[in-house]
């Protein structure tokens, strides 16, 4: 007979479960091999009840995974079959539609048994650097070209790892040790979560998670609905256009706020792109939900109940609801623009709440290095895949400037240059802020950044560009100006595209300028002290101080002189 628990005990247990999943995520960071997981934190971890409802999720992780993974476990239960779920099992998939949106995310689920009864599941997801196929990039015409597909299946059955599966995986990817290492890391992280959950259940004499699950979900649902009920019952539409791959993409959303839910309908958005920047609904949904939660109910933890009132729909085979077999490798590009689209609508319902547009999608690139082929390569030249995550500026907020070179909406970190250069024969020659790139405004957009990348002597490489906002910079809000667009070019002036795999010859460098966030409010309303500060720090040039903010020449000269003398502190 299960013990009765007080409200105080449930409060303690809820805290504990959040701590359990956080530990689960930290274990993954510490054991993972891909830089995307271990340095950048592109992962997620959570605990679920026996029906697949998410009860708690680690704070560590990125929103695209966070919300997408919420739905994943139900697919696992359905595919594996309740009767086939045994102790010692570990399940795996990289299905873009039943996992987290592209083949490069491996999701693993482990059933949790207590006293021989199934009590719940642990799931975790990580972005791995390579899954075979054409490599991480937008060039595929269908998901079949994007790499190895692993349907939902058992990775381990009753504690025995499926060696056939391991061989197939090893034979299909460029960095097999790294990938197998990551799969083991994911397994370990679920195992650690499971052990800690069982400790908790023993301490509180729980036979199952029903009581605590109900407590968590009911409190979360009530809190979320209270927030929604406090909003004006209105509807509004939002829209934005970005570069896309072959042609510009338009994202459209209609937001409807009802008493106990918010509907986001993406009717009217562009259709599929021919190349791999299409987004499965699960991932678009994750970011729409994230955007709304940030603005409306930021402190309510993610779980099945707190996410449920945010309902997202989109026409089939639109860019935000790509169906199999559309190519989806770079689904993050469209996904990362979903929040700005949602905010375009939400700003009309809740003014003075949401930021102006920002860089949006991460400014990622992957380089595939190899010994030079145009001339004899040195003996120690190697092949290597190096992925980097970088950020432009975020949009200015109603009361604050945008953040310089900081990811939004994504939650990942950049990798240290020194760590990246140990991962392969790549050289990052420059990684620093890009002055004048933040859109002018009463609040200035965050600065983008400059990067320059080349290879070590004796190597050439392909760069897989995953950039947007070349032709469509971030748009200002309430009179704020646009952020600076993306620029990509080789050091000898050779033009390059914002997206796709492009060859870079021995000795050449790629010069990149990542976009700035847009401004908020009229630049003439900007606090003069802040313009002064920006000039001192070199966030803006003398030219921008004069042209955009109307600072007199004499003041500019004075300020620059105090900087030289070290007086402008």
């Amino acid at each position: 007979m299960a013990k009765e628990h007080s409200n105080v005990a449930y409060q303690v247990m809820w805290n504990r479960m959040i701590s359990v999943v956080e530990e689960q995520a930290q274990a993954l960071v510490r054991t993972a091999f891909s830089t995307s997981v271990r340095e950048a934190g592109d992962l997620s971890a959570g605990v679920y009840d026996t029906k697949g409802n998410m009860l708690a999720q680690a704070v560590t992780g990125t929103p695209g995974h966070v919300n997408a993974m919420a739905d994943a476990v139900a697919h696992f239960i359905r595919r594996i079959g309740r009767q086939n779920i045994m102790q010692g099992d570990v399940y795996i998939t990289n299905d873009p539609w039943e996992g987290t949106g592209h083949l490069h995310d491996i999701t693993m689920v482990t059933p949790s048994f207590h006293n021989d009864a199934l009590v719940g599941f642990f799931a975790c997801t990580a972005h791995i650097v390579d899954i075979g196929g054409r490599g991480f990039g937008a060039d595929a015409a269908s998901v079949y070209e994007e790499g190895l597909y692993i349907p939902i299946m058992k990775f381990a059955a009753g504690g025995e790892v499926d060696k056939t599966l391991v061989s197939i995986i090893r034979g299909n990817v460029r960095e097999p040790d790294q990938l197998i290492g990551d799969i083991y890391a994911l397994t370990t992280c679920n195992e650690i979560g499971h052990r800690r959950l069982i400790d908790m259940m023993e301490e509180f004499e729980l036979d199952d998670l029903n009581g605590i699950g109900t407590f968590i979900l009911e409190n979360s649902r009530r809190a979320t609905i209270e927030r929604i009920a406090g909003l004006p019952r209105k509807e509004a539409t939002g829209e934005m256009t970005v570069d896309g791959f072959s042609e510009p993409i338009t994202l459209k959303v209609k937001l409807t706020i009802e008493e106990d839910r918010i509907l986001s309908d993406f009717e009217g958005s562009s259709g599929l792109d021919k190349k791999g920047i299409n987004c499965p609904l699960v991932y678009a949904k994750a970011y729409a939900c994230y955007a709304l939660k940030c603005a409306i109910a930021p402190e309510i933890p993610n779980n099945a109940a707190s996410l449920a009132p945010f309902e997202i729909t989109a026409p089939e085979n639109s860019i935000v609801n790509a169906l199999h077999p559309a190519p989806v490798a770079l689904r993050h590009i469209v996904g990362h623009f979903v929040p700005d689209t949602v905010y375009d609508a939400l700003d009309k319902i809740l003014p003075n709440t949401v930021p102006a547009e920002g860089a949006g999608c991460l400014c990622n690139f992957q380089v595939s290095l190899r010994p030079r082929m145009d001339a004899p390569a040195p003996e120690d030249a190697v092949r290597s895949e190096v992925l980097t995550f970088n950020s432009g500026g975020s949009g200015a907020r109603p009361l604050h400037d945008g953040l310089n070179a900081t990811a939004f909406p994504s939650g990942v970190m950049t990798m240290p240059v020194e760590a990246t250069e140990h991962a392969g024969p790549v050289i990052i020659w420059r990684k620093e802020l890009r002055p004048d790139s933040g859109g002018a405004g009463a609040q200035r957009g965050g600065l983008g950044q400059y990067m320059e990348v080349g290879a070590r002597e004796g190597h050439e490489f392909d760069i897989q560009a995953m950039f947007d906002r070349v032709d469509h910079p971030a748009r200002g809000r309430q009179g704020g100006q646009n952020g600076a667009p993306t620029v990509i070019i080789q050091d000898d002036g050779t033009k390059m595209n914002g997206k796709g795999k492009q060859f870079v010859a021995h000795g050449r460098r790629v010069m990149m300028a990542f976009p700035g966030g847009a401004g908020y409010g009229n630049p003439s309303d900007r606090d003069a002290k802040l313009v002064h500060r920006d000039l001192v720090r070199g966030y803006i040039s003398a030219k921008v101080a004069k042209n955009d903010y109307g600072m007199p020449d004499a003041d500019i000269a004075d300020i620059l002189n105090t900087v030289k003398k070290g007086e402008a502190l």
């Binding site: 409200n7 105080v8 409060q11 303690v12 809820w14 805290n15 504990r16 701590s19 956080e22 530990e23 930290q26 274990a27 960071v29 091999f33 929103p63 040790d177 790294q178 197998i180 290492g181 370990t188 195992e191 650690i192 800690r196 301490e203 409190n219 979360s220 809190a223 940030c294 109910a297 402190e299 309510i300 949401v354 907020r397 953040l403 310089n404 070179a405 900081t406 990811a407 939004f408 939650g411 970190m413 950049t414 240290p416 240059v417 020194e418 760590a419 250069e421 050289i427 420059r430 990684k431 620093e432 802020l433 950044q449 070590r456 720090r537 070199g538 900087v563 003398k565 070290g566 502190l569």
Partner: protein, 692 residues
């Protein structure tokens, strides 16, 4: 006649400066208010107070060991010198761009902490070293001179130099220093390859900037202190406690002041380690809870666990990532915003949240009756009967239970439909659970099982909560030492001379090079031993060898301890075996078929730990005198029970107070729950164990 040992330990904290004078085994201690403008004044006052108590002259003192929060505070309050950074062209903004992420993902109005040096104070030079330590672009002396001219014009007092991959090749950093010293002899210089020769530019640059930023301040303070002490007749040497739990010379401290950050808490860990040695305990969890924060540290084999990086000056609810990383050898502690003054509120899910906001001393918790309206941890403790309202802080502060109850009801009880007692129970459980969670996570990260541990608790609020934490963590034994109020300063007196030298050098086990390892470790040994030799010309020096290893391709290294024999005669199979054993312990199973690599090498030179007089644990011999009885809440039973109140000073050796009981003393109260019993030990420790 036997010549006495006379030593002075001094800990400058945020509120109090603690001074402990030790003459052989006898201690004289005092607390004086910290004098911010001239911190040395409080030391001089405190020193005279304890010298008078002991009837000695300052000139009789043979050694002074000092730890201070001044370095930490200067970083938190941004009170450092006018400092410039010289870095590699293309990397001017490393310390500002941080990790390019938001430490709180759901806050649209989040602002990131400003870097220590704003952008105009960061200069670049054209140069480049690659990831193998080879020079890609030479550093041109003329270009350095041009930058140094700009630095001269702007009038900087201190310069940090941080170049890419300098932990592999420090030639360029040294050349920058050469030019600086030549042209600007009065400017202080700090090199990242000396302050923190470790991979990851953000951490290394931030560490060297922090060092440069506080160097002039700390150098001048240490100089003044030495002068003042000399004027008072002190002739002995002065040493400084460092963050790694050892002591260094005043000269080394002035060169590497960033190593003084968190030296106070490090003293606390050393204090606990010393008690662990007395009781011959190999697995100890130290728990230090004060007014605003709680600190938890693992002490294995009587040595506090150390780490290579930590975060200082967190700006956002103590949240990970909201401070700045400092990579230096440091005692590995978790600090959370949970103290006696931490305030409770309800969040939108009607969950009780406690801290990190603290009531401070003004207005203080509601029970102080100074206008505090929000319930603090102390209010819950009072309502639950853990504190005596008429006898708090030795009777100096009258507590008002009514105010506590009112605050608990208003802020928590009304919404949750709880009376004050239940709300107090909820509050106390939440704060205890927060601390227990922090301890659990810390243990798991280190692959440790806390049920095998003994807890040692000190700090004003710790004894009130320690036993409940033990219940939650499955810890069976708790020791509460005497003198816990000045624990850090006592810890300073127990600390060895020590210095840890680190170097980042990559080596895969498939490329194992025994003679290279031997040379590297021999160099590090010489470097670290040199610092200790500076402090003591003749003492025995022990070298502790540690390498950080991981599977090739991972980002997180685990520390592997080597014996001197294993370090000096490196053998690839031994390295592999040691790594796989530890990896399995941490993560369950090794990864088959992958290469293993070593990333960081470290040698800690230390004088041997002071010999301790072992304590023979007494079992209960008699029942302690009960001063009175009062109702006290027992969280494990979720009910009020009749508890005995016992005066600590009246407990004789072997006296037992069975739980539920409260053992009171001037500074604090030890709560013994119904599940435990407490026995006074010969060294004055109260030993709280599971009741059989």
């Amino acid at each position: 006649m036997h010549k006495s040992s006379i030593r002075l330990g001094v800990d400058i904290g945020g509120t109090f400066t603690d001074v402990v004078l030790e003459i052989d085994a006898e201690q004289f201690s005092t607390k004086v208010l910290t004098t911010y403008a001239a911190p040395e004044n409080a030391i001089i006052d405190g020193m005279h107070l304890v010298c008078n108590k002991a009837g000695i002259m300052p000139s009789d003192i043979q050694q002074i060991i000092h730890g201070t929060t001044l370095a930490t505070n200067a970083l938190i309050e941004r009170r450092g010198a006018k400092t410039a950074l010289i870095t590699t062209q293309g990397f001017r903004d490393v310390i500002e761009m941080r990790t390019e992420s938001r430490f709180e993902q759901y806050d649209l109005n989040l602002n990131l902490p400003e870097p220590l040096l704003p952008r105009q104070m960061r200069y670049t030079v054209e140069e480049r070293v690659d990831a193998k330590g080879n020079v890609l672009i030479d550093l041109d002396r003329a270009k350095v001179e041009a930058v140094v001219d700009q630095i001269a014009e702007a009038g900087y007092k201190s310069v940090a130099v941080g170049l890419i991959h300098s932990y592999l090749n420090d030639e360029h950093e040294k050349m920058v220093r050469e030019v600086l010293t030549e042209k600007l002899p009065d400017v202080m210089v700090s090199l990242s390859s000396e302050v923190s020769p470790q991979m990851r530019e953000y951490e290394r640059f931030n560490t060297v900037v922090a060092n440069a930023y506080i160097k002039p301040l700390m150098k001048s303070y240490l100089g003044r202190l030495e002068g003042r002490l000399n004027n008072e007749g002190v002739t002995c040497k002065i040493f400084l406690m460092h963050s790694g739990g050892g002591i260094i010379s005043i000269e080394s401290a002035a060169d590497f002041p960033v190593r003084l950050v968190e030296s106070g808490p490090a003293g606390g860990a050393v204090f606990a380690a010393n008690i662990a040695a007395r009781y011959n305990l190999d697995k100890v969890l130290s728990f230090d809870m004060g007014g605003t924060t709680a600190k938890i540290c693992l002490i294995k084999n009587q040595t506090p666990k150390t780490s290579r990086v930590f975060e200082v000056a967190r700006t956002y609810r103590f949240k990970k990532g909201s401070g700045m990383p400092i990579s230096i050898p440091v005692i590995d502690m978790v600090e959370i915003g949970a103290g006696g003054g931490s305030l409770a509120h309800l969040d939108s899910m009607r969950q009780i949240r406690v801290g990190p906001e603290s009531a401070g001393s003004e207005p203080g918790p509601a029970c102080y009756g100074r206008g505090g309206e929000k319930p603090a941890v102390t209010d819950a403790d009072l309502v639950l009967g853990k504190l005596d309202p008429d006898n708090f802080a030795g009777g100096s502060i009258q507590l008002h239970t009514k105010n506590s109850a009112a605050a608990l009801e208003a802020v928590l009880g009304k919404t949750l439909d709880m009376d004050a007692q239940t709300a107090a129970f909820g509050l106390a459980e939440v704060v205890d659970e927060n601390m227990a969670n922090a301890a659990r996570v810390h243990a798991v990260e280190n692959g440790e099982d806390l049920s095998e541990y003994t807890m040692i608790a000190f700090g004003g609020a710790a004894p009130l909560h320690a036993a409940r934490l033990c219940e939650k963590l499955g810890v069976e034994r708790l020791l509460v030492p005497p003198g816990a109020g000045v624990g850090s300063a006592i810890g300073f007196l127990r600390a060895p001379f020590s210095f840890e030298a680190n170097r980042s050098v990559y080596m895969k086990l498939s490329d194992f090079n025994g003679s290279k390892i031997q040379n590297l470790l021999t160099d590090l040994k010489a470097e670290s031993n040199g610092f200790v030799r500076n402090c003591d010309a003749s003492a025995e020096i022990l070298s502790e060898f540690k390498v950080y290893m991981r599977y090739s391709g991972q980002g997180w290294e685990i520390p592997i301890i080597l014996t001197e024999e294993q370090a000096m005669n490196p053998d690839v199979d031994t390295f592999e075996r040691l790594f796989e054993e530890d990896y399995t312990k941490l993560f369950g199973r090794p990864v088959e078929g992958l290469d293993i690599e070593i990333t960081v090498w470290s040698v800690n030179a230390t004088t041997p730990a002071e010999k301790v007089a072992p304590v023979t644990t007494l079992s209960a011999k008699m029942t302690a005198d009960v001063d009175k009885q009062r109702q006290m809440f027992d969280p494990a039973q979720a009910a009020y029970l009749e508890a005995s109140v016992v005066l600590r000073k009246q407990m004789a050796n072997g006296a037992e107070a069975k739980g539920p009981a409260a053992i009171t003393e001037e500074e604090t109260t030890i709560i013994v729950p119904a599940s435990r019993t407490a026995i006074r030990q010969p060294d004055g420790c109260i030993d709280v164990v599971v009741r059989t």
